[in-house]
């Protein structure tokens, strides 16, 4: 028997009530910029704590996990309800750091492949803001070739012992759990010797190092795993069957903020580019009546509108099954292209303030650093080159690249001399 779903308008009223009573207004423009180095560690931790608190509040108000089944503490509602929540959050603070990767792809992977016991243990905790998750995928030896992971798990009775290193995790130093892809068999081809585990980041043997990015931010992390013990009950999916999980994991990652599991008010940092920050920049640079500036602002908005429209088209098509899941790579590729062009437009509008800015330059502050960090949006979440491979091979059916790592034992696959 299916229970009758709450109608979106009454959901909207509940959401609005919660938002007004609990969430502070936030200026959208504070959230623009690319991984800016603007907070001390204490401030960062305070913001993380605040986001956990908001998430807890959402949970108590029965607004958390809108599309997550009720059995796991969610609301069992639809993407349309999630859209209502996104709408009501416009201009308010929200748990931005918890969306990606915690809700998508980590929670999506748990929902799809976790055992009942794993789901009951972790999903409600995630929805309450108690568990922030990281993806332990990329390794120093390579991130694009995810299935080429070298981090190794060896079975020891009811436990596994993990050794290796994961890298480029953003915010691992304040996070709780890692979803980790590891090699459990070196004697079979690479896709057939992988297994997925979950592990608490504070477990003995996990050492988190922070990496300074070129703009000064220290959110990037590297984890060194030395004899880390993980119980077999924390394995997700079958032994050596990690790539079954992995392919869906990659799909959920490419869905990114298109996933109905994430919350993303328009104008927030994760909602995709919008030209309004460009209007602020042009205003502060005093070029609003310059024809070239108008051209750039119009270009930014047309790209933003294209990006939003494309997300909608792909999201609807994938949900309805009229296009394949692989089409999410089209959105990932396009979003990367749009983001880098928008960053360049911002820099050009800022003029000389992109090179050197004064404290009171308002929206022009840090624009130059954003430009230096421009390629983040084409690298993080899987590169645009990898997305282009998926689009051409899986969506358009063009021939696969020749590789030297199929049908040979993984230990015999050529590797960089340095790894």
């Amino acid at each position: 028997m299916t229970a009758k779903l709450e109608d979106p308008e009454s959901f909207r009223e509940r959401a609005r009530e919660f938002v007004i009573a609990n969430l502070r207004p936030s200026s959208g423009s504070k959230l623009v910029g690319i991984l800016r180095d603007e907070r001390t560690d204490e401030e960062e931790l305070a913001e993380v704590a605040r986001e956990r608190e908001i998430q807890r509040g959402l949970f108590e108000a029965q607004l958390a996990g809108v599309c997550v089944p009720k059995a796991y503490g969610g609301q069992g509602l639809t993407p349309a309800h999630q859209a209502v929540l996104n709408d009501e959050l416009i201009g308010r603070e929200y748990p931005m750091r918890l969306q990606s990767p915690t809700f998508a792809p980590c929670l999506s992977v748990l929902l799809e492949f976790g055992s009942e016991e794993q789901k009951l243990r972790h999903i409600p905790a995630i929805l309450k803001g108690e568990e922030i998750w990281m993806q332990f995928l990329s390794e120093p030896s390579g991130g694009s070739d995810v299935a080429g992971a070298l981090t190794t798990a060896i079975r020891d009775g009811d436990e596994w012992i993990l050794n290796g290193s994961k890298v480029w995790t953003t915010g691992a130093w304040w996070s709780d759990w890692g979803l980790c892809l590891a090699r459990t068999n070196w004697d079979v081809p690479k896709h057939r010797g992988l297994t997925v585990f979950m592990l608490p980041i504070d477990r003995e043997g996990v050492e988190v190092h922070r990496i300074e990015m070129l703009n000064g931010s220290k959110e990037f992390c590297q984890e060194f795993l030395t004899d880390v013990r993980v119980p077999d009950s924390d394995r997700i999916g079958g032994v050596d069957d990690g790539w079954t999980v992995g392919t869906r994991w990659m799909f959920h990652e490419r869905m990114g903020t298109n996933s109905p599991l994430t919350t993303q008010p328009k104008g927030g940092a994760l909602s995709g580019p919008d030209a309004l920050p460009m209007v602020s920049i042009a205003g502060d640079a005093d070029v609003l009546d310059d024809r070239r500036a108008l051209d750039l602002i119009g270009e930014a908005e047309s790209l933003a509108a294209a990006d939003r429209a494309l997300r909608g088209r792909l999201g609807d098509g994938i949900a309805a099954g009229t296009i394949s899941d692989q089409a999410s790579a089209i959105g990932r590729l396009f979003a990367g292209r749009v983001a880098i062009r928008t960053t360049t437009i911002g820099m050009d509008l800022a003029g000389a303030a992109a090179a050197a800015w004064a404290e009171d330059d308002e929206s022009l502050v840090e624009i130059g650093h954003d430009y230096l960090m421009r390629q983040v949006s084409c690298i993080g979440g899987g590169t645009t080159e990898m997305a282009a491979n998926v689009v051409s091979e899986r969506v358009l059916g063009m021939p696969r690249e020749r590789t030297l790592d199929r049908d040979v034992a993984f230990r015999d696959v050529p590797r960089s001399p340095s790894h």
Binding site: G298, A305, G317
Partner: protein, 377 residues
């Protein structure tokens, strides 16, 4: 075009697609290159029987919608027109028919337009500093029970094939629209040359053209809203048609890349080429999505309809042009020949890109709309 059409609309699309494949195949388009009108009267009448001319017309006047959303219906036909680089005055006829139906005027002409036995066109564009976004130099003066028109419109599509031209101009500080018989004294047509094989355009000059007061469409001096409405419809049609042309060029180039060998392997196996297709695919899908979203926003009379239309017109113009030029590049020498079909779609796209505002015009208009929205907030 939408990923999924309801079954009636899909039937309509398929009928149009089949009809165009049969009656307007590439060799027919090449033949029409040398014809004066660019389309056959009989072809247009048959298209009218399929429903091409009635989509913006009220039921009371003999029109009707298939899906319940007129602009969605029309953009489906326009998309097919783009995909076949089809001949015929699709945009002008529909816009004029829609305007006459909306105002409930000149119903005899409307009936002929619906039947496809007559063609009418809309004269909106002029040269700079005027723009289709509401600045017109053509003057429509009131003189007793007559209007007197002075000025020049260009380019006007299918003017020589039309019996009447719906002319947009200014009367004092307001806008007026009148229906001018092409045979009027003082009206001269100068045929223009152009890139499309089957679309014909003219410079239309009005020198003291006098027409009776009853030829007004809407109210004298108060046509701004109607003009904006028609402009939105025109942009919806151009966008959908251009995306259809992008799709056709893309499909034929993908097929070519898979089929063509170089250095012992298909072009489609080179990553350098695969990645260009991936980008083209993203532009194509974004073009579809924007065109559809803009059409839906216009139908719903949404606040952001003009923003979406300009975003779509500039994006589809800019990226569609890049896409089709990439298609030429990936074809190599054959892509530059008249014998190959690719240019049919490049021509159609290029024409549409330049009409009713260039990508740059729409970027600026979009910026102004966004700034106005920001200031209002």
């Amino acid at each position: 075009m939408l990923l999924q059409l309801d079954s009636d609309l899909e039937f309509f699309r398929e009928t149009t697609d089949r009809f165009l494949s049969e009656k307007a195949p590439p060799h027919e388009l090449r033949r029409l290159r040398d014809s004066d009108s660019g389309f056959e009267a009989n072809f247009w009448r048959q298209g009218a029987d399929l429903g091409w001319t009635s989509l913006l017309v009220d039921e009371a006047h003999g029109g009707g919608s298939i899906s319940g959303d007129r602009l969605v219906d029309l953009s489906v036909v326009a998309h097919e027109f783009g995909g076949h680089a089809a001949p015929g005055p699709l945009g002008p006829s529909n816009i004029v028919a829609g305007a006459l139906s909306r105002h409930g005027q000149h119903l005899e002409l409307l009936a002929d337009l619906l039947a496809g036995s007559a063609v009418a066109t809309w004269a909106i564009s002029e040269t700079v500093p005027h723009s289709p976004f509401g600045s017109f130099g053509l003057e429509i003066a009131v003189d007793g029970d007559e209007f007197v028109l002075n000025g020049t419109k260009r380019p006007v599509e299918s003017a020589a094939e039309s019996t009447h031209i719906l002319v947009t101009g200014r009367t004092g500080g307001g806008l007026t629209q009148v229906l001018v018989p092409v045979a009027s004294r003082g009206l001269t047509l100068r045929p223009m040359s152009g890139v499309d094989l089957t679309r014909r355009f003219s410079v239309v000059e009005f020198a003291d053209v006098r027409i009776p007061a009853e030829m007004v469409v809407g109210a004298v001096g108060h046509a701004r809203e109607a003009v904006e409405h028609q402009l939105r419809q025109g942009l919806v049609i151009l966008n959908a048609e251009s995306v259809g042309a992008m799709q056709a060029g893309f499909d034929m180039t993908l097929e070519w890349a898979i089929d063509r060998y170089s250095f012992g392997r298909p072009l489609a196996s080179y990553q350098a080429i695969k990645h260009r297709f991936a980008d083209m695919k993203s532009w194509l899908e974004a073009g579809h999505a924007l065109s559809d979203n803009a059409a839906a926003a216009v139908s719903a009379e949404a606040d952001d309809a003009d923003e979406l239309l300009s975003a779509a017109k500039s994006f589809i113009g800019e990226f569609g042009g890049e896409l089709l030029q990439e298609c030429v590049q990936l074809h190599g020498g054959i892509g530059l020949t008249f014998e190959h079909d690719l240019h049919l779609f490049l021509r159609r796209h290029t024409t549409n890109r330049a009409l009713l505002g260039t990508p740059a015009d729409h970027r600026r208009r979009l910026a102004e709309l966004v700034i106005a929205r920001e200031n209002a907030a």
